[in-house]
Structures are given as structure tokens and as C-alpha cells.
């Protein structure tokens, strides 16, 4: 019998007193797409970083083709044919997309001179099946989902036998995810082994061959996907049964209007009007680059200089800047948690309190660190935040747990209106259900909630009403049983607006 | 007790300066040591390596902690040292200043070369060489008092005595040869008739002479202080002359004054010192003079040769 392509056995890894991995194992065969699943903080990314040589295991062994290997860094990993798409996007912001994509090549090349034209042409070819991105733009100018696609393209250019993707679709819509899987299928057919990490159950079951589940740094089970049901996987991940993934939807009539936006217009979107009501969760759907994030950032005055009128609880308000919005209880959760969502180098507690320090301060603005910690602790618990202590830096958390901190930061101010941009990006199923329940509770208590999500099941399962954006314009609104994947996709497709106009 | 002029065993005198690494201090301290040896005293060189007044004051006060008999001080600035000097005097330490003064303090004496005399000499020399109706220029180092004095005094002297001498350039180059190179290059461009250049220190003189050479010009350069390079340029005839303070005598006389201030019991002058409580050893100003360095005597000013065999 031929040995497996990659075999990890009994891997241990600690960070100080935290044991991130406690005897993890994984076996990857050539030509398979192998899903790796586990709760936030289970140790998936840590294990992948060990395979790529970014981290060194405390103990354990790695075999490739049955041969024991020592991987001391990404350069060595590349030589062994390992490619990794990191969970956290890491691009050189000032450098062109094309150069970013071929960075690893440039590092290894024997050729002395750059050939920019050739680089751009090849980058275009790699990007073409994924998305339309101009390879000459500096990477920092792209939206977070476009950057994610560039990261994927980067890995695809590596000449690798083992391809690891750590939550590549967290910021992508199903459309891009489908394109990605088409490519991955092709690669697998050529004998490449693929490790695929995701919290999106549907993706796994539609596309993967086998699945390994981890919990608390340990191996729980490895099975053929065909032999499992989603609830088996969830069970293995969280160690208990999850009754329902989504909370019940609003029953009866929606309540009073909380927020009304009319005629919102800026460079990249025109004439956007919508309302938020008590008891109701509004979804905002659309394709990548449709302008959903920009609309939310326009309302909250975070970006651009949008024209348009806004009413809060029936009163027209003039919002000057985001500080103004926060003062009125209108908040926005960014889709780019690392870029503008959290303070990586600061303690968790200080992150959670950032939006309104007065809440944890006594007289004369003196911060009560006890109250600050307690606040982070209590919100952290409801979000199932896995952290050693509230005094630790956010940078030491796993990706999903960082997302929970970003969310906790908003919830801490008891807002009246929340715009959530990809709120559950990278969050595991268990915590996701928890977050959805919290959102439902908030909506019922009279908080206006708008959720931008690229994950179709989330839009469908969570929202009472979905408005769809295409090319900077609202193309339609769906509610109740009309919220289906097909209808959303029709409205989201480019040219949908023209099509709908033609119908009328 | 017998009144003699000699040190007790272990009696120590300190010479305290700023920018201790500067070569100017080397022959001064050599003179200081020679005098100390002659009197059987210990000599210590101290101060701060930096151009930083707070650090020099701290080092002065730290000197006091070691209980010296006297301190020969080069105060970086006059007034900031009033209080420290007076406290030292009160504690029974004799303080003499040299090369820069703190006139409002109670220091017993001030030893220096007379910058006004240097400036006057330089002015007369310029007039002697280029005539009394010519163009001249100066480089300066604003903020350092002796350099400042050398320049302003020369300009004032010229205005008063040779009204036809025209000052066509005045640039701050702050002892930096590269800055002097730039400034003098530009001066030569702007003033084709420039005849003479007065520079209050040697660092700028090095840059100036290389600029003059680079421009293929000839020009009378006269500067104060000396460095090995300017010495060579004097020998080569590219620099007309340098005026160098008599450093050895400055140190020697400086020591003597400090020492006498500490041994004032041997002095009983015809004045009111007993009732006024002053130290009888009071001299407002001692001129240690300066040397004129030209092609002819340049060989006597090679510091390396002088220091060879000494410590």
C-alpha cells in the first residue's frame, strides 16, 4: 500500500501555558479534498502553520510520502510542494496584485530581472476563472473579498502537491466559492491533496471527500463525508447536540420603524432607500463588489460623503461623522476585522470597551479595570469566546475568536441600530447559532438590525427580509417564503436592474 | 604651620570641560598637569563628552562629590554655572574658569586668550595683505561665545577702522567642513572679487580651503585654532595664517590660579579681602596670548609630535 501523501501524528504545540495542540493527527491522501473542521480555537490554523513551517511543533512527526520531514519555514515547505492560503489575509498593500500573486516565485527565481508585463499577463490568466480584478492595482486598494481571491490565486500559482486552504471562502459568496471548487476539483483530479478548512457545512458536504474533526487540539474522528450527516459533524465538533441552527423568525407583524434611509447616493452607489423595523432582521445580499459594504459605511459616515436623508425613530437626523452615529446608537461591524475591526496588540478587555469607555469608567473618566474585564467576560461568555484571560492580546486568539471580540465590541454599547458586515465570518457553527439567537433577541427588544452576508444560508435562515444590491443599486426586496437562493441570485446578477426595468 | 606652596599628599585638582573628546583640551590639560606635577598635586580630567549643559553641570557637581581642592572649569554657558560655582566656593573648593567665563559667579579668576585681540590681529593682517578697500567674508558658528566674539569683533573693527572694507558674505557653517564647502563655493560664485576669508575655527577652515581649491581660486584664508589638515594647508600656502590660543600656558596658568585660590593663606595683599570675605586670590582676567602660525613656524605646531612620549 502506498503511504499517504501527508501524515501528521501526535502533534503537540503550546504557547506558554496554552496547549493549542494535544496529539493532533491528520492523514491526507493524494487526489482528495479533505475537510478539516472544529470549533473556533480547536487548533486547525495552528496545525496548518506547523505544516507550512511557520510554527514548530513541541513534539510529533510529519511524514510526506512516508518520509519523515523537518519543515523549518515556508521556503522549505514550498520546496516540499506545500502551499497554504492563510486564514488571515497577508498581502503587501503597496505592491501590485500581480507581484503579490507571484511573490513566492520571485523569491525563488534564478532570473535576475523582473518582467512586469509578463507578470501582469500571467496574473490575469490565474485570476480570470476566479474574478475580474485588475492585476496592476496595488493590493491595498481591493475590497477584503477581492483580497481573499488574490490570496487564493497566489496559492494556485504555487507548484504544489499539498494545497491547504484555511477558510478561503469566509468572505466570499457562493458564486466565487463554486468557481473555487471547480478549480479545486481539477487540481484534485491531477493528484494534488487538498486540505480544506471551513465553517460552512453546506460547502463541505457538497464538495469534500473526507472530513477530520478536531476538538481542543485533539483528533476526534476522520470519515468519508458520504458516511456522515451534518449533525454528526456538529456533534463531534462541539461535543453536544445543537437543536436548531437558526432562531425562529419573526412571527406576526413587524414593529415600528426605527431607521429610514432615503436616496443615499455616492460615487459607487445610487439612490439607495430602505427602512429598519422593530422585531425584524434585514438582510442585504449581493455579489462581491456590489457595494453592500459601501452603503453601510455610507450611512454610518465611515467612508465617502454620501448624500441622502436619514430618519431615526421618525426624527430626521443629520449625521456628521461616525462618532455622531455612535452617540445616537448607530454602529457598524466591519468586514475587515484585522484592518479596522480590532486592536490586535491590545488586551481583549480594552477592545471590547473601545466604543464607549464611559460605560466602564467611574467619575472623572477614570477607567475601572475591574468593570472593564467584567464587561468583556460577560459578553465573551454569551459569544462562547475562547480565551485564556481578558487581559491577553487579541493577537493571541484564533481567527474566529477575534471575530467574536469584534462583535463583542459593538454589542457592548447597547446600540439602537446595527449594521453587521459579515458578522459570522470565520465563526464556528455553535457560536454562530448563539450569535444569531442574540441578534434575534436584540431585534425583538427594538434594535434595528441589518446583516450583510455572503453566506446564502445565513441570509435565508436568519433574515425576515432581504434587499439585494447589484452594481450599486437596489434591485429588489424579498420577504418571507420569497427569500430563496434562486431569487436572490437573480436579483444579484449583473444587469439585474436593467432586466427588472425591462419587465416593468 | 609653615607657609609653602605645595600640595598635601592626595590633594587633587580637576579640569572640567564640555565635549571632552575635543583635541583643543589636550595641550591645555598637558599644561595643567605640568603645573600640578611641579606642585606635587594630582590632576584629573573630567567633564562631559556631549555638548549638553545639563550633563556638564551634573559632572561638575559630581566632581565636587570627590572633594577636590580646586576645579579649573570651562563653563559651556556663563549664567547656568553661577549657582553651581558659588556652591562649590562655599564648600571651600577653589574655582577658576578658562576659555569661557561665568563672570557673575564668585570664581577666583578667568584665564583665556583675548578673542578681541585675535580679531584685531586678523583684521590688521587682512588689510596688510589685501589692502584697505577690498571684499572679505566670514564663516561663523552662532551660539558658541568665543567663536562668536572672534567674528563680531573683527566685523566691528573693520567697520570702525577700515570703512572701505566690504563684508560680502557671512555664513553659519558650525564647524562642519561639508557645510563650509557648500557655503564657500557659493560665496566664490556670488563674489568674484572676494579677497579674504576669516574663519573662527579649524573645522570650517578645512571645508573652505577645499572649496577654494576646487574652484581653482586663490584667496587669503585666515582662521583661528589649528588642525593637522589646516596646518598642512598653511605649509602648502593654501591657508595664509592661523591664530592659535596658547593652550599650554592656558592650562598651566589656569592650574596656578586654581591652586593659589586653594592656598590663599600664603597671600596677604594690600586690599579689603579680610573684611569683605573674598578670596585674596582674585584676578578678573588673565590673557594667555595666542600664537601666529605661518608657513615658517608651522612645524612647531604638530600636536602628534608634541604629545609623542607623553600620556
Amino acid at each position: 500500500m502506498t503511504p499517504p501523501l501527508l501524515q501528521l501524528s501526535d502533534i503537540h504545540k503550546s504557547f506558554g501555558a496554552i496547549k493549542a495542540l494535544r496529539g493532533a493527527q491528520l492523514e491526507l491522501r493524494a487526489g482528495e479534498i479533505h475537510a478539516l473542521m472544529g470549533e473556533n480555537g480547536a487548533g486547525k490554523s495552528t496545525l496548518m502553520n506547523i505544516i507550512d513551517g511557520i510554527l514548530q511543533p513541541s513534539s510529533g512527526e510529519i511524514r510526506i510520502d512516508g518520509q519523515r520531514v523537518q519543515i523549518d519555514g515556508p521556503a522549505t515547505a514550498q520546496r516540499l510542494g506545500i502551499g497554504l492560503v492563510h486564514q488571515e489575509i497577508a498581502l503587501c498593500a503597496d505592491i501590485s496584485v500581480a507581484e503579490n500573486i507571484f511573490m513566492a516565485r520571485t523569491a525563488q527565481t534564478k532570473r535576475p530581472l523582473m518582467d512586469s508585463a509578463d507578470l501582469v499577463a500571467r496574473a490575469r490568466a490565474v485570476l480570470a476563472p476566479l474574478a475580474e480584478i485588475d492585476p496592476r492595482l496595488p493590493a491595498g486598494r481591493l475590497s477584503i473579498s477581492q483580497q481573499q481571491l488574490v490570496e487564493i490565486a497566489k496559492a494556485l500559482t504555487l507548484d504544489c502537491r499539498i494545497l491547504i486552504l484555511d477558510e478561503p471562502t469566509a468572505a466570499l459568496t457562493e458564486l466565487e466559492a463554486q468557481k473555487l471548487f471547480t478549480i479545486l476539483r481539477g487540481l484534485a483530479a491531477r493528484g494534488i491533496g487538498i486540505i480544506y478548512i471551513s465553517h460552512r457545512m453546506a460547502e463541505i458536504f457538497a464538495n469534500c471527500d473526507r472530513v477530520t474533526v478536531m476538538r481542543d487540539g485533539q483528533h476526534i474522528r476522520t470519515d468519508e463525508v458520504a458516511d456522515l450527516t451534518p449533525s454528526d459533524v456538529v456533534n463531534a465538533m462541539v461535543g453536544r447536540k445543537l437543536d436548531t441552527l437558526y432562531p425562529p423568525k419573526m412571527n406576526g407583524e413587524r414593529g415600528a420603524e426605527i431607521l429610514r434611509v432615503q436616496g443615499l447616493t455616492d460615487r459607487r452607489y445610487q439612490d439607495v432607500s430602505f427602512t429598519l423595523h422593530k422585531g425584524e432582521i434585514l438582510g442585504i445580499g449581493g455579489l462581491i463588489g456590489a457595494g453592500r459594504s459601501e452603503i453601510a459605511r455610507g450611512v454610518t459616515r465611515l467612508e465617502g460623503a454620501a448624500k441622502g436623508r436619514v430618519w431615526l425613530n421618525g426624527q430626521e437626523v443629520v449625521l456628521r461623522d461616525y462618532a455622531d452615529c455612535i452617540a445616537r446608537g448607530i454602529v457598524y461591524l466591519s468586514e475587515d476585522r484585522k484592518g479596522d475591526g480590532i486592536f490586535l496588540d491590545m488586551p481583549i478587555a480594552a477592545n471590547v470597551s473601545a466604543l464607549n469607555l464611559r460605560q466602564v469608567a467611574g467619575r472623572f473618566g477614570v477607567i475601572d479595570s475591574g468593570a472593564e474585564t467584567a464587561q468583556a467576560q460577560s459578553i465573551g461568555e454569551t459569544l462562547r469566546l475562547k480565551a485564556g484571560s481578558m487581559g491577553h492580546r487579541v493577537a493571541s486568539l484564533s481567527g474566529g475568536n477575534q471575530q467574536k471580540v469584534a462583535l463583542a465590541k459593538l454589542l457592548a454599547v447597547k446600540p439602537r441600530v446595527i449594521f453587521l458586515d459579515e458578522p459570522t465570518r470565520g465563526v464556528d457553527v455553535g457560536a454562530k447559532a448563539e450569535i444569531h439567537a442574540i441578534l434575534r433577541g436584540l431585534a425583538e427588544s427594538g434594535v434595528g438590525i441589518a446583516v450583510i452576508s455572503s453566506e446564502m444560508p445565513e441570509l435565508i435562515g436568519l433574515c425576515d427580509r432581504v434587499m439585494v444590491v447589484s452594481e450599486g443599486r437596489l434591485t429588489g426586496e424579498l420577504s418571507g417564503p420569497d427569500i430563496t437562493e434562486a431569487k436572490i441570485m437573480t436579483l444579484a446578477a449583473p444587469g439585474a436592474l436593467a432586466a427588472s426595468r425591462n419587465q416593468n | 604651620q609653615e607657609k609653602t606652596l605645595a600640595c598635601e599628599p592626595g590633594e587633587t585638582y580637576v579640569m572640567n570641560v564640555m565635549v571632552m573628546g575635543h583635541p583643543y583640551w589636550v595641550p591645555v590639560f598637558e599644561g595643567f598637569k605640568q603645573a600640578a606635577d611641579a606642585m606635587g598635586c594630582e590632576a584629573v580630567f573630567s567633564g562631559t563628552p556631549d555638548y549638553d549643559i545639563t550633563k556638564q553641570i551634573a559632572s561638575f557637581e559630581q566632581d565636587l562629590v570627590t572633594n577636590p581642592k580646586g576645579i579649573l572649569l570651562h563653563p559651556m554657558q556663563a549664567d547656568p554655572f553661577i549657582d553651581p560655582i558659588n556652591r562649590a566656593i562655599e564648600a571651600g573648593v577653589s574655582v577658576t574658569t578658562f576659555a569661557a567665563d561665568s563672570p557673575k559667579s564668585k570664581r577666583t579668576a578667568y584665564v583665556t586668550s583675548d578673542n578681541l585681540a585675535e580679531a584685531k590681529f586678523a583684521a590688521e593682517e587682512i588689510v596688510k595683505v589685501v589692502g584697505d578697500s577690498a571684499e572679505y567674508a566670514v564663516l561663523e558658528n552662532p551660539g558658541q561665545s568665543n567663536h562668536d566674539l572672534r567674528v563680531t569683533a573683527l566685523i566691528a573693527y573693520m567697520e570702525k577702522n577700515y570703512p572701505n572694507m566690504k563684508l560680502v558674505g557671512r555664513q553659519a557653517t558650525n564647524q562642519d567642513p561639508n557645510a563650509a564647502f557648500t557655503a564657500v563655493s557659493a560665496m566664490l560664485q556670488a563674489n568674484p572679487d572676494l579677497a579674504a576669508l576669516w574663519i573662527p575655527e579649524s573645522g570650517s577652515a578645512e571645508g573652505a580651503v577645499s572649496a577654494v581649491k576646487a574652484a581653482g581660486d586663490t584667496l587669503m584664508i585666515i582662521h583661528a585654532d589649528i588642525s593637522p589638515t589646516t596646518l598642512e594647508e598653511i605649509k602648502a600656502g593654501n591657508i595664509h595664517m592661523a591664530l592659535n590660543p596658547n593652550q599650554g600656558i592656558q592650562g598651566f596658568v589656569g592650574f596656578m590660579n586654581t591652586f593659589l585660590g586653594a592656598h590663599s593663606d600664603v597671600i596677604d595683599p594690600f586690599n579689603d579681602y579680610k573684611v569683605s570675605g573674598f578670596n585674596p586670590m582674585q584676578i578678573p582676567f588673565v590673557d594667555n596670548g595666542f600664537a601666529v602660525i605661518t608657513k615658517d613656524n608651522a612645524d612647531s605646531f604638530v600636536l602628534e609630535q608634541y604629545m609623542a612620549g607623553r600620556n
Binding site: D340, M346, A354, L357 | P49, S59, D83
Partner: protein
């Protein structure tokens, strides 16, 4: 036992500062054996006086560094305060009023820098470099390059520079006060917490509703204002105003802050750490002077101790960071 001691120190100084405290204690111990004059009241006093005024500038620089800025003009602006106050006094103004105006002028310089940084969008480095040159030029212009003798300053004014309360010099009391107040403000108050947020991730801070431009503007002004305060105390101490004062001060001050844990990329640092950094630098200089080390060796030893101390501290902090996660 050892752990207990470490915990005690850590609790007293905060984990980040323990390393520096240990290094300083070690130097103290060595110096006490090396020189009989070291552990005397006069020497301690002289050593403390040597950095106590500059420490006020260190406070301002640290806060600015935390917000993500930097200021090269501190030396010139300190001199500018002396010169402005000195000129006004010489023209017959009350020295306290003159000082207030001088401090306001410094704040104005800070405001201009802040304007160029936040509203024009230039980098702190280049703006403060220009300010450094311009402020120095103003000092020269105001004085003709010569120090202003201010011997006539009234005693009650000079008191802040050379007076004592009991045996403790007023300048040292002022220094302790500034450090204590700003350390408290920075550690505990909401207003100064915004400085950390802004420096840690300016965009995330803006996305948290913090008016980051205002924060950066104000820290820039604060730093210049503290330079002004330092300049006034120097003037009272020296009884003169020196147009060339403080050349090269910026490197010393930034070094103190960085040794104390501040980062040039913002978001990190404490006042206490920065002051310990300043103490370390000053202690090394003073010790070398006291031991009368040859000047030709002083720089070499100073640089090496600096490097060794930072390296040692680095390893200590790294080890603590590991343990600290527990």
C-alpha cells in the same frame, strides 16, 4: 521565593517595567561598590537633577509615540520657550506671565505641526523636522545667537529651578509630579486610552468612533507644550536663555521612550517605562563621569551598555510574555 519577588516587582511596576528596574538596580549595586561617592546624597541629587527636566519632555514624547507620532523638534522648541520667555522678561514683563506666553507659543508650534500632520496629511517626521529647523531659526533670530543673561530673574521664580523644599529640589518635585500625573492619566483615564487605540490601529479607532485626527493633533500639541514647560524650568535653573540649547535632545528622548517599551509604530509604551529608560541612560552617563572613565572609552562603553540592557530586557519581556499567558 524568586517567583514571589518577581511577582512583587511586577505588581509594583507592571510586567513591562520589571526588566528595566532590575537592570537599573544592578547598575546601582555595581556603582555602589565601584565608587564610594556614588551612594551619597549630593551625587544622587546631581544625578536626578541631570534628567529631571528632560524627563518632562520624555513624558510628552512618549504620549506622542503611543499615538503613532514622533517629534524631532523637542530640543528647539524647548530652547524657543527659554528665548521667548527670556526676551519678554528682559522687556519688562512679569516672568510668570512671560513663561505662560512662552508655553503658549510652544503649544502654538505644536498646533501648527498638528495641523500639517492631521489636516494636510504629511508625516510627523518631516513636519517636525521642518519645525525643528524653524524653531531653531527663531531662537537665533530672537537672540542674535547669544545667550540671554537673566540673572535678574526674581528669586521666587528661580526657585522652581534651583530652590528646594526641605532637602528635595523643587525641580525634582515637579518632575515626580508630572510623571505621576501623566502615568495615572495614561493608565487609567478614558481620554488618554483613546491615544492607545489611535496608535494601535488608527483605522480601527476611527471605526470605533474615535476622532483620531483630533487625538493626534492634541498629542502633538501636548508634546510641544511640555517642551515649553521644560524650557521654563531650565530657564529658571540656568538663569539664562540659550538659543542653542537642546541640540540632539530628540534622539535622547526618543531613545528613553523606546527603551521603556514604546514603539515607533505606535500603540505601545508607558510613562513609567519611558522614565525608567531616561533614568537608565542618565545613570550610565553619570556613572561613567563619576568613575572618570577616559573620554575616548566613554562612548564605546555607553553604547555597549545600552545595547546589552535592551537585549537583556528584550529576553526578559519575552519570557514573561510566555509565562504571562498562563
Amino acid at each position: 521565593m524568586e517567583t514571589q519577588r518577581q511577582t512583587f516587582l511586577s505588581r509594583l511596576f507592571g510586567a513591562r517595567e520589571t526588566g528595566l528596574v532590575l537592570i537599573i538596580l544592578a547598575l546601582f549595586l555595581i556603582m555602589t561598590f565601584a565608587s564610594p561617592h556614588f551612594l551619597t546624597w549630593t551625587n544622587m541629587r546631581a544625578m536626578t537633577m541631570a534628567f529631571s527636566v528632560e524627563a518632562i519632555v520624555v513624558v510628552g514624547m512618549t504620549i506622542l509615540l503611543i499615538s503613532g507620532g514622533i517629534d524631532l523638534s523637542v530640543g528647539s522648541v524647548t530652547a524657543l520657550a527659554m528665548v521667548v520667555a527670556g526676551l519678554l522678561f528682559l522687556n519688562g514683563m512679569d516672568p510668570w506671565l512671560a513663561s505662560l506666553i512662552a508655553i503658549l507659543v510652544c503649544a502654538g508650534v505644536g498646533a501648527i505641526m498638528g495641523f500639517f500632520v492631521t489636516y494636510v496629511g504629511l508625516h510627523h517626521f518631516i513636519v517636525s523636522l521642518a519645525a525643528m529647523v524653524i524653531a531653531r531659526g527663531l531662537c537665533l533670530l530672537g537672540t542674535g545667537g547669544r545667550p540671554l543673561g537673566l540673572f535678574e530673574l526674581p528669586e521666587n521664580f528661580k526657585w522652581i529651578g534651583i530652590g528646594s523644599i526641605g532637602v528635595i529640589p523643587v525641580a525634582i518635585i515637579i518632575f515626580v509630579l508630572f510623571v505621576a500625573v501623566f502615568d495615572f492619566l495614561l493608565r487609567r483615564t478614558t481620554a488618554f486610552r483613546l491615544v492607545y487605540y489611535t496608535g494601535s490601529n488608527e483605522k480601527a479607532a476611527a471605526y470605533s468612533g474615535i476622532r483620531t485626527k483630533r487625538v493626534i493633533f492634541l498629542t502633538t500639541v501636548l508634546c510641544s507644550t511640555l517642551c515649553g514647560v521644560a524650557g521654563i524650568i531650565y530657564m529658571a535653573r540656568f538663569g539664562s536663555a540659550q538659543p542653542t540649547f537642546g541640540v540632539g535632545m530628540e534622539l535622547n528622548v526618543i531613545a528613553a521612550a523606546v527603551i521603556g517599551g514604546a514603539s515607533l509604530s505606535g500603540g505601545k509604551g508607558t510613562i513609567l517605562g519611558a522614565i525608567l529608560g531616561a533614568i537608565l541612560l542618565s545613570l550610565v552617563s553619570s556613572s561613567l563621569a563619576l568613575l572618570n572613565v577616559s573620554v575616548y572609552w566613554q562612548d564605546i562603553i555607553r553604547g555597549s551598555i545600552l545595547l546589552a540592557a535592551v537585549t537583556f530586557d528584550h529576553y526578559l519581556v519575552k519570557r514573561q510574555a510566555m509565562g504571562g499567558r498562563a
